[in-house]
Amino acid sequence: MIEIRGLVKQYPGAAHPAVDHLTLAVPEGCVCVLIGPSGCGKTTTMRMINRLVEPDAGSISVGGRDVLHVDPVSLRRSIGYVIQQVGLFPHWTIADNVATVPKLLGWDEGRIAARVDELLELVGMEPATFRSRFPRELSGGQKQRVGVARALAADPPVMLMDEPFAALDPISRGRLQDEFLRILRSLRKTIVFVTHDIDEALKLGDRIAILRDGALVQYAAPEAILARPADAFVESFVGTDRALKRLGLIQVEAALEATGPVAPSLSIAAHANLRDALARMLEGGVDSLAVTGANGALLGVLTMSGLRRHTRTRDAADDQ
């Protein structure tokens, strides 16, 4: 869906290029996370896709179209754009804010109104209540929900998101990440997501691109990055607890075993992850947990040794 080839951006007077011959492909429907330390070029790269920054060399194509040779303004109207501080227009109502791009595209009023309501519902904000409110009446989390709704208004196939949840408190951030994941999966958007938070990247990304000094260091699925970091930099970037982070990506039901004669006293939900399961075992001082399904039914058992065996099997499978 998005093909970046040999992309270069050099600011005059800078020691090294902000983006240094970057080549990257984002398949359709994929959430691609750009991550790296400050100054690695992740935001610059993202902003070159909708040409808020003009590249010095290289090519970018979106949906097969070369974006560097089309009108930037109409390009931007076909790409969703969400930034950290949201940038809701304070002098417009929530409804007017969400309707920005449809209005630019000349949709008729009825269609716009319907779409605004549809999107507010989608992001979890009751249209009747919020339609006529103003941005200053909203909390940080609510503002960003509107920001996402605004970006989705004209139903663009591609969305660019620049640290959209970084300005929120941890609880709102977690909640929005979960909801956002749900929404965007159901809509099958192709997303380029910039963040500096490795946990957010592991949680949300289908593919993670680790950048450093403008160059691509590793581009792979979260599991692969944790299991086989490309070099010492990536290793330290993902953190020394990457084994635990890996456990966080695996669901309990993947390591399920049959129940023995006696069911363990503590339990864990089947859709929880192995890291939470390990934490519960350590807290309770036990070696096994009962695994329960959606309705509380006993599906099986998770043991400490079973957990270890499972991760070892995964390692072996990956190596092949």
Binding site: L52, V73, R76, I83, Q85, G87, P90, V101, L104, F134
Partner: protein, 215 residues
């Protein structure tokens, strides 16, 4: 009592008073209108050029310090006396506060708003028209309000260069030591100035976008 004598003077010379009042209002309104029509577009056009904006603000700041009567007087050897030269001078006096406020207000618009607007696909003109100007409007209007008081005040001095207006009564009053005439000029001029301040203060409130008003 002086006030009663002043009132009697107006009653005795209704035509003269009406003339002076109309001229005064006309001069003020025209000067303000011209200044707005020039300063705001210039502020908008310079918005993208940081150096030009700073230059404009510096020049306007110098203009602001010049004594009003000096500006009015300097026009006389160049353009003569009368309504038009007075209008010219008053417009010059009204330009600096409006230009300074327009430039400053546009510079202070939250950069994130402009980024979001551009990123969504607004053209440069659309960003200015739909986002920057409305958000900057309260501060721009504060500048217009300041300028309006300055212009009404300056129009009193226009009497010195033959511009007419309420200043004529004041100068005549002083020359002849006729105190009632003094008041016929001074009090209405004061009321006009206060009125202009109130009017533009009200307009400023009304024109502040609803979403941005102080709760």
């Amino acid at each position: 009592m002086l006030f009663i004598e002043a009132w009697q003077f107006i009653v005795a010379h209704p035509g003269r008073f009406a003339d002076a009042l109309t001229t005064h209002v006309a001069l003020s309104a025209a000067a303000l209108g011209l200044a707005i029509a020039m300063a705001v577009p210039v502020g908008v056009l310079l918005a993208d050029n940081r150096r030009a904006t700073l230059l404009a603000i510096t020049a306007a700041n110098v203009g602001r310090t010049l004594p009003s009567l000096a500006v009015l007087a300097l026009v006389m050897p160049l353009l003569g006396t009368g309504f038009a030269p007075a209008l010219f001078a008053l417009t010059l006096l009204a330009l600096p506060p409006i230009l300074i406020n327009t430039c400053t207000a546009l510079r202070q618009v939250d950069a994130d708003l402009v980024d979001a607007a551009r990123g969504m696909g607004m053209t440069r003109a659309q960003v200015m028209r739909e986002v920057e100007l409305p958000v900057a409007m309260p501060v721009i209007f504060a500048g217009i309000r300041t300028a309006s008081v300055q212009v009404v005040s300056g129009a009193v001095l226009a009497a010195y260069i033959g511009g007419g207006g309420l200043g004529d009564f004041i100068t005549a009053g002083i020359a002849m030591m006729a105190l009632p005439q003094l008041l016929v000029g001074a009090i209405p001029a004061t009321l006009l100035a206060i009125g202009a301040d109130r009017l533009f203060g009200l307009l400023q409130k009304v024109l502040t976008p609803v979403g941005m008003r102080a709760t």
